[in-house]
């Protein structure tokens, strides 16, 4: 084949390459959803502290966003919640409901839904739940490498069984059962006002090294109910 005809062949190929994309229609080029849904988990109107869904280790989130009407049969949007129980998700306009993922969350299972129509934005949705236990009046002090935390533990659901209280330490502001550098359990605590202490000097060399990774230290108290995977937490405090 002569050199010239090779160039011609390349030219034809180039022409095809340039012209083909022009044939595509707009149908597969959707804009990402811009409408906003936001809200938080509450118990009797009070906000609650949860595990943040920074990790998807369980493969599920506590909250699901379902669209209704039209051809929607199955499927939902996983709603990621922050550690303070707030959530924000972008979606297309339409009719929706929020529902709990069975088996997740430190609360009594229920199939309640929060229904709403989304048009532009829907803010300050309150998702009401009944936790098994409730932590309040959390106060902490950190002196001489010893953390002293005082809190009030209330049993909300009479049938719930308290498994343990944990103090969890982490090197970032996200501290929970799955994102922690150290955990200490207390199994003898009963509902009422309690004080727990944790002396960091008593930790092993490896544990101390794990807590020195970032130069920052955060702590949180968690309440584990027997037979329930997720814990309810106190707010996260920085130790300094």
């Amino acid at each position: 084949m002569a050199i010239r005809s090779i160039f011609k062949a390349i030219f034809v190929l180039l022409l095809i390459t340039v012209l083909l994309p022009g044939c595509s229609t707009e149908i597969d080029n959707w804009d990402y959803p811009r409408s906003i849904v936001s809200g938080r988990f509450v118990y009797k109107g009070q906000p609650m502290q949860l595990m943040s869904t920074a990790s998807d280790a369980t493969g599920s989130n506590m909250l699901q966003l379902h669209q209704t009407g039209g051809d929607w049969i199955q499927g939902f949007v996983k709603v990621f919640a922050k550690e303070d129980g707030t959530f924000t998700v972008n979606a297309f306009d339409g009719d929706y409901y929020l529902t709990l993922t069975p088996g997740r969350g430190p609360w009594q299972p229920n199939m309640d839904t929060v229904r709403f129509s989304l048009n532009g934005e829907k803010r300050d949705l309150a998702f009401e739940v009944t936790p098994y236990f409730w932590i309040s009046d959390f106060k902490d002090s950190f002196a001489d490498s010893t953390l002293t935390a005082t809190f009030k533990l209330e049993q909300i659901v009479a049938s719930a069984e308290l498994e343990r209280i944990v103090v969890e330490l982490g090197t970032t502001a996200i501290v929970d059962n799955l994102s922690k550098a150290y955990e200490k359990s207390f199994t003898t605590i009963t509902p009422g006002t309690n004080t727990v202490t944790l002396n960091l000097k008593e930790l092993s060399v490896v544990e101390k090294a794990n807590l020195q990774r970032t130069g920052h230290l955060f702590a949180r108290i968690g309440v584990k109910t027997a037979g329930v995977s997720d814990m309810i937490y106190s707010e996260t405090v920085k130790l300094q």
Binding site: S5, K8, A9, V12, S55, D56, A57, T58, G59, S60, I73, Q74, G75, F76, T101, P102, G103, R104, R164, N177, L178, A181, Y182, E183, S185, V206, N210, G227, S229
Partner: protein, 615 residues
């Protein structure tokens, strides 16, 4: 332009030629079904593909598949916190392949056709048909242990043609009891057509494989009915697609006992026990094909096409054939599960009450008094591999004043006198590769054949899926649950005997003995996860609590005393610490992991599917 005209001419010519009937010839690269099912070799090759398609779960083709449970941890790199390491995922080892079921059903149609009946010997034909039925039952079993009940399609080959209402393809989930019933019935059906003779290296399923699978399915169903309702009562769906009603337990236990006893008394298989060398005979029972009397059904491997690199990756680095080694470290938790021969506390004592070290005369002392099956499962310090000892030494203990101090070095390092400090095999607690991190290596399935770790031939080690020891344990478990402790003791002692440990008595036997017997007998054989699931023990043992004795993985590091003039010079001490690679992740099994999730897109296609509990 000339070139375009050329193309057009060629296209035109092709179009004209296409009208000629000369092109309507039989394709040479595709075999029509009629040819496949009239030729024994071709039909067998289709079956071979099914055999290769049913490798579900933990297996010795992938050493990484042992990392997430409580048997062994990986040794490469730093400690990690992946999602799967934090929480044992509910989709772990799930099997979902209805395409396979359809291909199997196509095979059954073909092998049952008149053409096949007239062309093949009836004995060959019915045997192949039965093998396919068995493999389909095995698939359904492997699916059921993750999902519970799932759609059962029977022999129907679903084929879509335009205009068909897709609703007839949408089959609802069976109950969990229903899918185990299906497996049991299909095993019975397969057993009538399968040979009752042993097959070469257990590579082809026979009657005893079908009956042992039947016994296994029955005991799974029984324990889910029994413990599911006792320990996790909320964990079932409204119509029992997941979970089995408690009143069915006894029926399944009876079936399991009866079937397991049938396999024990009638099959040509026997437990392989050589009293002269119990440890070695246990290794041979699981990992050596020659003269094996124990393995009923296995994935057999043959060079050069079907081999495993398991030996290359996990063999002691000091003994390496090729470039790798020490990839898998057995955890102390498993080692301590092996009982002591004298019946004493199996935990290995590392410190006295006052905190001082316990000195052992030999590094093997804590292990040689254990169940001999430990030798056949694990390479412990100084145990031989290919006839030469494997040195596992974390460091030295030196004397500083009156105190003992630990001294470690880089792997293979020596002191000024030339004494070894840290062995090239480790164990170490750092992120180096090719060194052990737990103090123990794996022996089971690591090939003793010279050069079994060498590229490109690697190892022909098989993967036993069913072996006769399981019949004894199923019989023991079922008899125990049915209240016949005498029988349970007899069957349990049959396998305990191979470890040289003390026989149990009717007064002493507990459910924990059965749990532990499964653990030590079937370590690394894809039993642990499924057994703990069906007994509903997984969330109790793997509770996610740091430093919990069953959730946290531990390692055991041996140090040699090098202190001239000291009374303990030449002795050994051990330290117990968390397993390096898994240190941040105590094993955590949430309740939701008892049943895998039904995927939303399956439900979109088939709205009759219902979700599993906690989904």
């Amino acid at each position: 332009m000339r070139i375009l005209i050329g193309f057009l001419t060629i296209a035109l010519m092709a179009g004209v030629l296409g009208c000629s009937t000369d092109l309507d010839t039989e394709p040479t690269n595709i075999l029509p079904e009629s040819a496949v099912f009239t030729d024994k070799a071709l039909a067998e090759s289709v079956l071979a593909n099914f055999y290769a398609s049913v490798n579900y779960g933990q297996n010795n083709g992938d050493y990484g598949s042992y990392h997430l449970l409580d048997e062994a941890n990986l040794s490469y790199g730093p400690a990690t916190t992946t999602d799967a390491e934090k929480i044992i995922p509910r989709d772990l080892f799930q099997a979902y392949d209805y395409g396979l079921v359809r291909r199997m059903n196509q095979f059954l149609v073909g092998i049952r056709s008149n053409a096949a009946r007239s062309a093949l010997l009836e004995s060959d034909r019915s045997n192949m048909e039965a093998q396919c039925i068995f493999l389909r039952a095995w698939y359904h079993f492997c699916m059921a242990r993750s999902y519970g009940g799932m759609p059962i399609l029977g022999d129907t080959v679903f084929t879509y043609e335009s205009g068909i209402d897709p609703e007839r393809f949408q089959v609802a989930r069976s109950t969990e009891a229903g899918i185990y019933d299906y497996v049991i019935a299909q095993c019975d059906l397969a057993a009538t057509g399968l040979t009752s003779a042993k097959t070469t290296n257990g590579g082809v399923a026979n009657k005893w494989a079908a009956l042992l699978l039947k016994a296994r399915a029955a005991v799974y169903a029984a324990s889910i009915a029994n413990y599911g309702n006792k320990l996790t009562p909320a964990l079932h769906t409204q119509n029992w697609e997941a979970g089995i009603p408690a009143d069915q337990a006894a029926k399944y236990y009876q079936l399991a006992l009866q079937t397991a006893e049938q396999v024990i008394t009638q099959s040509p298989y026997a437990l392989q026990i050589n009293e002269a060398n119990l440890g070695d005979s246990f290794y041979k029972a699981t990992s050596v094909k020659a003269g094996n009397t124990e393995v009923i059904w296995a994935l057999d491997r043959l060079r050069p096409n079907v081999v495993t690199q398991f030996t290359n990756f996990t063999m002691p680095y000091s003994h390496r054939d090729f470039t790798d080694g020490n990839a898998l470290g057995v955890v102390l938790n498993l080692v301590e599960a092996f009982e002591n021969k004298d019946g004493s506390n199996p935990a290995i004592k590392t410190a006295n009450a006052d905190g001082s070290y316990v000195f052992y005369n030999s590094v093997e002392d804590p292990f040689s008094k254990k169940d001999a099956r430990l030798w056949g499962t694990v390479i412990y310090p100084n145990a031989p591999y290919r006839q030469s000892p494997v040195i596992l030494q974390a460091g030295q203990v030196n004397k500083s004043g009156n105190a003992y101090v630990l001294r470690t070095s880089s792997a293979g390092g020596r002191d000024a006198q030339g004494n070894l400090i840290t062995s090239i095999n480790g164990p170490v607690a750092n992120s180096d590769n090719f060194v052990n991190k737990t103090g123990f290596l794996i022996r089971k399935f690591v090939d003793e054949t010279p050069n079994a770790g060498l590229n490109p031939l690697f190892s022909e080690m098989w993967w036993p899926r069913l072996r006769i020891a399981e019949a004894y344990l199923i019989a023991a478990e079922a008899a125990f649950e049915l209240g016949d402790k005498a029988k349970a003791v007899t069957y349990l002692n049959a396998t305990r005997k191979r470890g040289g440990i003390q026989p149990l008595t009717v007064e002493k036997i507990t459910f924990d003995h059965i749990v532990n017997e499964y653990r030590v007998e079937f370590a690394f054989e894809d039993h642990r996860l499924w057994d703990l699931k069906r007994w509903r023990l997984a969330h109790k043992l793997w509770n996610g609590i740091p430093n919990d004795p069953t959730a946290q993985m531990y390692s055991l590091f041996p140090y040699k005393v090098v202190a001239q003039g000291d009374q303990n010079d030449g002795k050994w001490i051990f330290t117990k610490q968390v397993s390096f690679k898994m240190a941040p992740n105590p094993r955590n099994f949430p309740l939701m992991s008892y049943y895998a999730a039904i995927q939303p897109d399956w439900r979109a296609k088939n709205p009759k599917l219902v979700n599993n509990p906690l989904q």
